[in-house]
Symmetry: C2
Subunit: 472 residues, 2 copies
């Protein structure tokens, strides 16, 4: 395809994207397709000859768009806000267009340096001291894995340079609350610690925050048994209820045992942009690593997860390999982001952050986050005031965990009711919520914060929930 052919096709697709975004509120929020329906629409073999763009556009309209859950819809309250601000989409377009190859500083100095600048901007906006340095990872799953690898190597005295984790004399142990994200368990397993060496520390029954005294007891017990407390993962904003683990106290406990502290603020990290929320992150400065995702609530399009660390030298010692064909004269003066994560080749992801912040500005982003906090507070109050309904966890930010508990309905019967009306809400196409389990019982998470969601949408949601729960 020549640049002129690209120009014509890209103009057409820009209009397609703009029209799609204009119409997203009118689509069913939940994908309406059954397993296999998209596949069955596609050719069995790759085409030998060039095919017309029009065919792709037809497929986009008939299979792709109906085949995704509309995260950009005002009716999206699922999982977590997964905003893709159009300003950041522009940055992504340019990134694809220039197709820079990020393998070393030399391969694309601008890719490296813009990433340095925007991660510095966000560090400052989050109120982190300049002891921290950040890099863009694809997701928090990867950032947490990288952090736990660094923790593993610190606890094992750089076992990678010898016999590896398998040569460690005493088992290394990782601690988190049972409410932490599944990516923590995954990272523990992939890093080789083993499921037996992941401790799920008790949480407070009301706030669902990890109990520091239980953490201390668990670490002391492991130490007494000849094991090595290696890392603690604190969740600032658990996935289930946005519970806030007490980071300061956890860091104090971890320090007693020399353990690494990693903070997972994937969703809630956006709240660090708001001075009035900063107290929720009290003590974060004492941690060793922190991951948060602008690609969630803040709205820089996926994949844009930030991993901040304090000891860059240690991180680089764990992640660096430099074969001769990647050496250059600039090596001593520059940052090599390949040594801050797993992949060697990197896209120019900093452009989407840069475009987003430059074109929207920080104040507008902050205003939107505040709007969402107010929506959640309003909904929580409405739910709490309604007979037969319950708010199940403190509303710390923009997630409201709720249940309809009709007179006399308990146990498995209540679970069936909850899942029935949640499914009916999703099947309506008007809104999408995520059922989840809390204290062994199904509940419904309403995660507010889609860029398009206004107060009227939340009011309509609450009416829909009540109506549906009465006759699912």
């Amino acid at each position: 395809m020549t640049p002129e052919e690209f120009r014509a096709a890209a103009h057409e697709l820009v209009d397609w994207v703009a029209d799609y975004r204009l119409g997203v509120a009118d689509r069913p929020v939940q994908s309406v397709l059954r397993p296999g329906q998209v596949r069955s629409r596609m050719p069995a073999h790759a085409p030998a000859e060039p095919q017309p763009l029009a065919e792709l556009v037809t497929m986009l309209n008939e299979a792709v768009v109906p085949g995704i859950t509309q995260t950009q819809s005002p009716g999206f309250y699922g999982w977590f806000p997964s905003n893709a601000a159009l300003a950041s989409v522009l940055g992504d377009h340019v990134s694809s267009g220039v197709a820079a190859l990020g393998i070393t500083w030399q391969s694309a100095p601008a890719l490296t340096e813009v990433e340095q600048v925007v991660t510095e901007w966000l560090r400052e906006l989050c109120g982190l001291s300049d002891a921290w340095r950040g890099a863009i990872q694809d997701t928090a799953s990867t950032g947490t894995l990288v952090a736990l690898l660094a923790a593993r190597e610190r606890a094992s005295g750089m076992s990678i340079d010898g016999g590896g984790l398998q040569a460690c004399p005493a088992p290394l142990v990782v601690y988190s609350s049972a409410h932490c994200h599944s990516s923590v368990e995954k990272a523990v397993l992939l890093a080789g610690f083993g499921r037996d060496n992941l401790r799920h520390v008790e949480v407070d029954p009301v706030t669902y925050a990890l109990r520091p005294e239980s953490l201390r007891a668990a670490m002391a017990a492991d130490l007494a048994a000849g094991r090595v407390p290696a890392a603690v993962v604190a969740a600032i904003g658990t996935t289930g209820t946005t519970a806030m683990d007490p980071v300061r106290e956890m860091c104090v406990v971890a320090a007693e045992f020399g353990a690494w502290v990693h903070v997972d603020a994937a969703m809630a990290g956006s709240a660090m942009l708001l001075p009035e929320c900063r107290h929720l992150f009290d003590g974060v400065e004492l941690a060793d690593s922190l991951v948060w995702n602008p690609h969630k609530w803040m709205g820089t399009i996926l994949d844009c997860s930030l991993l901040y660390v304090r000891d860059v030298d240690h991180l680089v010692a764990c992640m660096s390999t430099t074969p001769p064909y990647l050496r250059s004269q600039a090596d001593d003066d520059v940052v090599q982001f390949k040594d801050w994560g797993i992949p060697l080749g990197r896209r120019f992801r900093a452009l989407k952050l840069w475009f987003h912040l430059h074109l929207d500005g920080v104040q507008a982003i902050r205003q939107r986050l505040r709007r969402d906090l107010a929506h959640a507070a309003w909904l929580a109050e409405a739910v709490a005031a309604e007979p037969g309904w319950r708010v199940l966890a403190p509303v710390q930010l923009q997630t409201v965990c709720l249940r309809h508990e009709p007179e006399g309905l308990t146990g498995a019967e209540l679970d069936r009711h909850t899942l029935a009306w949640a499914d009916a809400v999703n099947a309506s196409g008007k809104a999408f919520v995520s059922p989840s389990v809390l204290d062994g019982r199904w509940m419904v998470r309403v995660s507010i914060g889609a860029e398009a969601t206004e107060r009227a949408d939340v009011e309509a949601l609450w009416a829909l929930l009540r109506e549906t729960a009465l006759s699912p």
Copy 2:
């Protein structure tokens, strides 16, 4: 930013990208910026208020474009072809525009199913049997890490479900040639095997291919010493010289020890599309996993690396975590790509492969690959025929390793000469090549295969090399 504001800005940027691509041949191939020059152009703090697009465009022109090495230039012969076919860029644009969230099948059925379809298309085009299933990873570094994690778990009897790698009674060992990519060493270290448990097996002094009899001896020695041969990494196309490890024989040896075989064909995998090259991959069907990158020579824009495995159930057992909020009724009927790799959230990367194959067609891609093979053969012949010049390794595909060896110049003096003229070639802005080390001496790798490179460009390069080497 509203959809209409996006529409206007995106049209402007489409023209910017098309114009950039039209003019890329006229730019210096190597970035001309010094460390810090891009940073120094950017504001110290994120803007509070929205800023004009025009400012971004100015920065793109003055800092970003001069700040990248032009991988899309006909004069790009560095590292490896890093093509970003404009048809695939269109797919990337749409992916950003629809902003699908790939965390489960349910979150975006189309994202999952289009990925199934295009990985099937490419499996078939590569001549792999339908015993293989593929998924898109960001890079081969990640794919190789995932493969070695699966290998680790097979060799350790699923240690993740118990005490982890640290509880394994005998050290697990990984084997590759010393010519394998740095990502193999990195994956070995990150997976916890330890540097002591990575064996660099001897290679043939002429072909630089791993010697199977040396592999067998190394594995037998480890077994005799109480260690466990866990995994073998075969390179089909090493980074240095595109050497072809003998996969069939390596698989036979590995099978004797029950070791996993992972094939790294990151760059050379594109040659599997050509029936006449398929013999280079003889025996690949016997391996356990294979990674190759359409985002290199084939030209689907980064990040688009394919990981194929034969035992999907084992891979999923190693990588799967499913918390309640990700469960859905469709779980039993669908593929969950989150369990095929590290990240939970995934972009709709299949779109770029689909657009690329659909709009360009397979025949045109094959023709381009054949063109590049012919260019490399021509250059190798020219170099070999020129007094004072030497081709240093068999030209298996599109990489020519060469050196100018003037009468009487040896050792460190020859190294200085090589680096001097290679740097001068790159400083000219007309072409970009990668110096590297072979058998302890610097040489120059000419990696042919930029989409824009035609025969006349390769002829001009050869003239430039000769001219520059005579007076660097």
